[in-house]
């Protein structure tokens, strides 16, 4: 069991943190949630681990979001201590672009956003359907809508910025 869990951790931890980061925009939260997800996997070992892990992680995100809303605080944390491996201009552009994409992602509804993020982690339609509790036939449409809206939101955001500047 321990060996299986270790293998599971090595295989999916990075992907899970990346997906959670894209979902939450906060690396610390993403890591916390990933740890919490694996802790739950220890308590109840899943049969189909990958969809299970991502489904639990996304549920945790939603729970956390609801709790934050109830408490009247919604924090969008941006880490300021990212390693400065690039030049300041490149770093600025990267952060700018990342923030714009996150803003565009935030305009999608939960289902579209999560389907898109799972696809980006290499999930096939069956796995996305299993993770989100949808039928496989609906995934193509969901992804089509998600992608189109993301691109539109990003472009409109860019236009808005250009117009503002």
């Amino acid at each position: 069991m321990t060996a299986d869990l270790t293998q599971l951790f090595e295989q999916h931890y990075g992907s899970l943190v990346r997906m959670l980061y894209r979902r939450t925009g906060d690396r610390d939260r993403a890591e916390d949630l990933a740890q919490e997800t694996f802790a739950r996997a220890v308590a109840a070992p899943p049969n189909n681990p990958r969809p299970w892990l991502f489904a639990v992680a996304l549920n945790l995100v939603r729970e956390e979001g609801r709790r934050a809303l109830r408490q009247g605080r919604r924090l969008e944390l941006l880490r300021a201590d990212e390693p400065k491996s690039q030049s300041p201009d490149e770093e600025f552009d990267r952060n700018e672009r990342s923030a714009s994409v996150r803003a565009a992602l935030a305009t999608l509804n939960d289902r579209d956003r999560e389907a898109l993020l799972l696809k980006a982690e290499g999930f096939n339609y069956d796995e996305i359907a299993a993770t989100l509790g949808l039928s496989k036939g609906a995934i193509g449409t969901t992804l089509a809508r998600a992608r189109r809206r993301l691109v539109e939101a990003y472009r409109s955001d860019g236009r808005g910025k250009n117009a503002a500047s």
């Binding site: 980061y21 894209r22 690396r27 694996f38 802790a39 994409v101 096939n124 339609y125 992608r147 189109r148």
Partner: protein
């Protein structure tokens, strides 16, 4: 067949349709221009969406040990400041300077005391082993009771050799029982004479009985006394004092050398101690630092080359869209009817014969149902220029030179040539 919905196009491009569905969709795409253009749009949207999502990467974690998977209990929650699961760094607190100075003073005193004690002990040992621990024979009153002197290590044979001169000096043929005294007396006697006596008596002494041995010893002693009496007493005193001086000088020299060696050893030990302490501090300091970021190993990359992608195989240097292809060709791009291009790109250095070499060639890349690559190259021919010779799979459509080639055989390519529009 109705037009394809967007979800189906996405599923097609995501590779989620089964073979039957794919063939149906391709059949429709071959006949429906509207769906073909929508497919191109969907491709662009997909590519852009993927690029956008990929742009949101978590900040690269600083070099750190990988986080451990949770054991059979919930993982420890991290503190506010610990961004990762690295172990708590060592806290290096500066020591109290006064305490450190006190410790240093104390250690220095102890070292000096130890060095001094070592010198004294060494001097005592050398003195006791090299200087005579008794009065010289000339000054000694043999009638006085002798002080108990610890017996030096002397072989019985030496003791026997020394007995004879002593007895002869005292003029009493009694044997001296103490081997120490025998040895001391033996030292004091003139060596040359004593050796003579030893040489003459040794064979007999070894073989004779104790009584006979005593007799031989007495006789030998008489000979020695006779020889000693012939030397002047003054010369014996001079040689004794010279020996004393030599012994004292040697003792002093050895003491100095010993002291020097002890100091040298103490200095070396001190330096080693300092080095060890510096090493420990350096280790403690470096243990708190994050580990060095592991660089990607070029050798490993070379040993395991990534499989070539279709893009690499097709040798295009820039992927372009339909609009750009139209711009390059000065008109619509030509495609194979009923086939969906994988992508369109520009190629360099492979201009078609007769085409304008200043313009890059447009390459439309296809894959057939068996995964073989098919290339449809197109390049604009300047007006007025003579197009190159047309070949089997090379021909001109309007102002564009077209060349069809690929991995399938010529028969398949000729069939496809008829479908180029």
């Amino acid at each position: 067949m109705p037009h394809l919905d967007e979800g189906t196009l996405h599923a097609l491009l995501d590779g989620e349709l089964d073979l039957t569905e794919v063939s149906e969709v391709q059949l429709h795409l071959g006949t429906c221009v509207a769906c073909g253009s929508r497919l191109q749009e969907v491709k662009q949207v997909m590519a852009e969406a993927d690029r956008l999502v990929a742009a949101v990467e978590p900040p690269a974690a600083s070099p750190q040990p990988k986080p451990e998977p949770p054991r059979n209990q919930p993982p420890p929650r991290r503190t506010e400041n610990s961004g990762n699961w690295e172990p708590a760094p060592l806290l290096l607190v500066p020591e109290d300077l006064e305490a450190q100075a006190r410790r240093n003073r104390w250690a220095r005193r102890v070292r000096w005391a130890a060095a001094l004690a070592g010198v004294l002990v060494a001097g005592r040992v050398i003195t006791s082993s090299m200087s005579p621990s008794h009065l010289e024979l000339s000054e000694r009153d043999l009638t006085a009771p002798s002080r108990p002197v610890p017996p030096p290590v002397v072989s019985p044979e030496e003791s026997r050799r020394a007995e004879a001169p002593v007895v002869a000096q005292r003029g009493k043929p009694t044997r001296l029982s103490s081997p120490t005294r025998s040895a001391q007396i033996h030292k004091a006697a003139p060596k040359a004479e004593a050796l003579k006596v030893e040489e003459s008596t040794e064979p007999l002494a070894d073989t004779a009985s104790p009584d006979a041995q005593a007799g031989f010893a007495a006789a030998a002693a008489e000979d020695t006394v006779t020889a000693q009496d012939s030397q002047p007493l003054a010369s014996q005193d001079t040689s004794d004092s010279t020996k004393k001086l030599e012994l004292a000088a040697a003792d002093e020299r050895s003491r100095r050398e010993d002291e020097l060696a002890t100091r040298r050893a103490a200095a070396q030990a001190l330096a080693e101690l300092d080095r060890e302490r510096l090493r420990q501090r350096a280790n403690a300091a470096t243990a708190a630092l994050p580990p060095v970021r592991s660089e990607p190993q070029p050798a490993a990359a070379e040993s395991a080359p990534a499989p070539r992608t279709l893009e690499q195989r097709s040798q295009i240097y820039l992927r372009i869209g339909l609009d750009e292809a139209v711009k390059q060709l000065g008109g619509p791009a030509h495609v194979i009817e009923g086939m969906t291009p994988q992508f369109i790109g520009l190629i360099r250095g492979q201009q078609l014969p007769g085409a304008n070499p200043r313009r890059p060639a447009v390459r439309v890349v296809y894959l057939d149902s068996r995964g073989r690559m098919i290339l449809l190259d197109q390049q604009r021919v300047d007006s007025g220029a003579t197009p190159g010779a047309e070949g089997n799979l090379r021909w001109t459509i309007g102002d564009v030179m077209v060349y069809l080639r690929g991995e399938p055989g010529p028969e398949v390519l000729r069939n496809l040539q008829a479908r180029v529009r």
